[in-house]
């Protein structure tokens, strides 16, 4: 006889979770982001990062890129649920490890300190499309584009050398080669 006092079944073993990137094409209308994000929160899916902007003004299309984690079954379900939303045109999903897809995030760093410390920071950033956006005697604002984990690493490294403020975007994605998502 039951030991559980729940009216529901007990949770079963969960499969292995992986990180996936969803790209969603939506009508750029009021509330559309709320619908997409509400679907994730309402069904208990996780959002690690989010990027959204209009990509086709004539057709009024926005492109939302969402990084999420889940078991293959959950990922499949997210895709099917997203596809069901009325303003959603198409949905593509990729594993983070997918070699055919480029993922990029951008970060702005404000570094304050003495010259040599700032120089150390700039050296660390060099490899990641470093752009210096603002410069004073005691500070720099720099921009880098890289993968999420790379930015994580850099910001950790810069902390002791005068990084006082960081602002980051969500990931955006694009397939390699001539092929487009369909």
């Amino acid at each position: 006889m039951p030991k559980s006092k729940s009216a529901y079944s007990v949770p079963t073993k969960k499969g292995k979770s992986d990180t996936y990137i969803f790209v969603v094409w939506v009508d750029n209308e009021a509330g559309v982001l709320a619908r997409v994000v509400g679907l994730f929160s309402g069904r208990g899916y996780n959002i690690e990062s989010l990027a959204v902007a209009e990509v086709d003004a004539a057709k009024n299309i926005s492109r939302i890129t969402i990084v999420t984690t889940g078991t293959p079954q959950v990922i499949d379900q997210i895709k099917r649920q997203l596809t069901k939303l009325v303003p959603v045109h198409k949905v593509a999903e990729f594993k983070r490890e997918d070699k055919n897809v480029i993922f990029k995030e951008m970060a702005l760093f404000k570094i304050v300190g003495k010259k040599n410390k700032i120089q150390k920071c700039l050296n660390v950033c060099k490899k990641f499309d470093l752009v210096i956006l603002d410069e004073t005697k005691t500070s720099r604002v720099v921009q880098i584009t890289a993968l999420r984990r790379e930015i994580d690493k850099i910001s950790k490294k810069l902390k002791p050398h005068g990084l006082i403020s960081a602002s980051r975007t969500g990931a955006v994605a694009m397939t390699r080669g001539a092929k487009v998502f369909n």
């Binding site: 006889m1 079963t12 509400g38």
Partner: protein, 588 residues
């Protein structure tokens, strides 16, 4: 220059073009322009409810019994929030509703104006889609789109929020676009290849079972006919979910009864032991599957569903056929018939052993109960109601709880659209307003709400609606003075600590009936039951029937939470064998 219409006029023009005949609603400040326009449209009848939740459930009953979308009209703020329960209920059970709500004028949106709320925000998770109309020029398109979204694919509720200034504003009217062909392609994403794969599985099956659900009902009467033909062609046993009852005749020999938590022993064991499971228009709900890990462990699973997001949501299947149930089964039947013409080989002999096993399970007679001469057993009451109403084309609604399960177990449905119950959301108070809606759609038919006294009190005010429109609904209350299902769980799982499940002060339902202006009937012992039920049926008007039943009766059989299908409790005796004390008499 084309004629200009106000927003309110456009709403009605759209309703007419969508062939709407009835709307269920309640007026208020923010929908007054639409109510003002009502008098100019005699083809549309407005049913005034007593609470917006009642409007929603009535529209659900209307939709489920007629196959047409139900239309609800409410005001802003509390009008909209009151209808949320019904919208959620409709969303869970895939009932097509179009809810039109008034909103404060556009310039006041966001200012916490009187009776303002973020209606589209609140209803976003409980509708298929919703719209806030900010521009009068969008109104006709949105209204037509709303009907399209509600009724196509997997049906469901939608909401159109119309600010008061938009109801006054004027513009041209746009007719709905015709795009029937496109829809069909959109819904049916399967190919003949899938059908052949299914036929292969059917050929090989030795222990098959068909598990059908509400999708068959939603697909229309044709789907039920196709399902019946399919079951006949294959000779397979069939079981049904709560929502699917009536799609296949309940008194047919191939029908094993309902499955799931309170399903029959034979249906659940067949689900567990089968080697081929064909799910037609059901969604592997947790009340059906029990413990997921041990759900039908040795079967190939086939899922036929119109909603791609139902596939692999809970149970991973071997073959998914995404499409309208009627279309899919008709294709299957045609393919089977074609093949049979070739070499008329049937696999019926293959499954003879399986039927023997099923007969053994049937021998347990799991719906049996010990009847009494002193008190009315609720199961007996439902059985008598069935026997006395089965020759009429009866429509049955229910509330939620023990009485609902007894109704599902003991009332046999032979036609689709005759059974309206809140399955997914489990909304107490659904049945009475739903009966109002059913009676509106079928004025000449017998409509019975099999109710519990706790549930029915939640929406009792709609009796007033029934009396106003002279709707002869019969509220058949199985009165056990408890929230029966809560009491049952407390008995079985919480050491009989009946915390707050007993109603110490219940109204006198006879006086209540009198106060509402309808007929009250009371039955207290089994000997008078038949006569009283007959009196209820014969009375030309609404009736509240107070049927006093044994308060200690439990609903069996039952799969306890977290258990697989083959570990059912059959009755109190079985319960004792399982080392849990039980009161009451042996069932088996």
């Amino acid at each position: 220059m084309p004629k200009l219409y106000t927003g309110a006029e456009i709403v009605f023009k759209c309703l007419k073009d969508q062939s709407v005949e009835h709307i269920f609603g309640y007026p208020g400040g923010a929908v007054l322009p639409i109510y003002d326009e009502l008098k100019n449209h005699t083809s549309i009848k407005h049913i005034l409810v007593r609470h917006e939740q009642g409007a929603g459930h009535a529209a659900e009953g209307y939709a489920r019994s007629s196959g047409k979308p139900g239309v609800v009209l409410v005001t802003s703020g509390p009008g909209a929030t009151n209808v949320v329960t019904a919208l959620t209920d409709a969303y869970m059970d895939s009932v097509p509703l179009v809810c039109i709500s008034g909103q404060v004028p556009t310039h006041l949106i966001g200012t916490d104006a009187f009776q303002e709320c973020d209606t589209t925000g609140i209803t976003r998770p409980c509708t298929k889609h919703n719209w806030l109309v900010k521009d009068i020029n969008d109104l006709s398109d949105i209204m037509h789109e709303a009907f399209k979204v509600a009724t196509t694919g997997r049906p469901g509720p939608v909401l159109v929020d119309i600010p008061k200034d938009i109801q006054f504003a004027k513009t041209k009217y746009k007719k709905p676009k015709k795009e029937k062909k496109l829809n069909e392609k959109f819904n049916n994403k399967f190919s003949q290849k899938h059908i052949y794969q299914l036929i292969e599985l059917i050929k090989k099956a030795k222990k098959p079972i068909i598990y059908s659900g509400g999708g068959v009902i939603n697909s229309g009467p044709k789907a039920s006919n196709e399902l019946r033909e399919f079951v006949e062609l294959t000779g397979f046993p069939i079981t049904s979910t709560l929502q699917g009852l009536g799609a296949y005749p309940g008194d047919d020999n191939q029908f094993l009864g309902m499955l799931g938590m309170h399903g029959t022993y034979e249906a659940n064991n067949a689900m567990h032991d089968c080697d081929l499971l064909i799910n037609i228009g059901a969604r592997f709900d947790d009340r059906i599957t029990g413990k997921i890990d041990e759900f039908s462990p040795n079967s190939k699973k086939v899922h036929i569903d119109i909603d791609p997001s139902s596939i692999n949501k809970i149970i991973k299947v071997d073959l998914a056929i995404v499409g309208d149930v009627a279309k899919v089964i008709s294709k299957i039947n045609k393919t089977i018939l074609k093949k049979k013409n070739g070499h008329s080989k049937s696999n019926k002999p293959n499954i003879a052993k399986w039927w023997e096993q099923i007969q053994k399970w049937r021998g347990k007679d799991s719906l049996n109960f010990v009847n009494s001469n002193d008190s009315i057993k609720p199961q007996h009451a439902v059985q008598r109601l069935y026997e006395l109403t089965k020759d009429k084309d009866t429509y049955v609604t229910t509330e939620v709880g023990q009485h609902q399960m007894w109704a599902a177990q003991h009332y046999k449905f032979n036609k689709p659209n005759r059974w309206m119950t809140s399955g997914g959301l489990g909304t107490m108070g659904y049945g009475l307003p739903a009966a109002v809606g059913v009676q509106i759609a079928h004025p000449e038919k017998l409509v019975v709400d099999i109710a519990g006294e706790a549930s029915v009190l939640m929406t009792m005010q709609e009796m007033s609606t029934a009396v106003q429109y002279n709707l002869p609904i019969k509220i058949f209350i199985l009165n056990n003075q408890y929230m029966g299902m809560v009491r049952q769980w407390q008995e079985l799982l919480h050491e009989k600590n009946y915390s707050e499940s007993y109603s110490e002060a219940l109204p006198d339902f006879l006086k209540m009936a009198e106060a509402y202006g309808c007929k009250g009937i009371k039955a207290e012992n089994p000997s008078e039951l038949d006569e009283k039920i007959q009196e209820m049926i014969d009375y030309k008007g609404p009736v509240i029937f107070d049927c006093h039943v044994d308060p200690n009766e439990n609903c069996f059989p039952m799969i306890p939470s977290g258990k697989p299908h083959n570990q059912m409790i059959l009755g109190p005796k079985d319960q004792e064998d399982n080392k849990i004390k039980g009161k009451g008499k042996a069932l088996v």
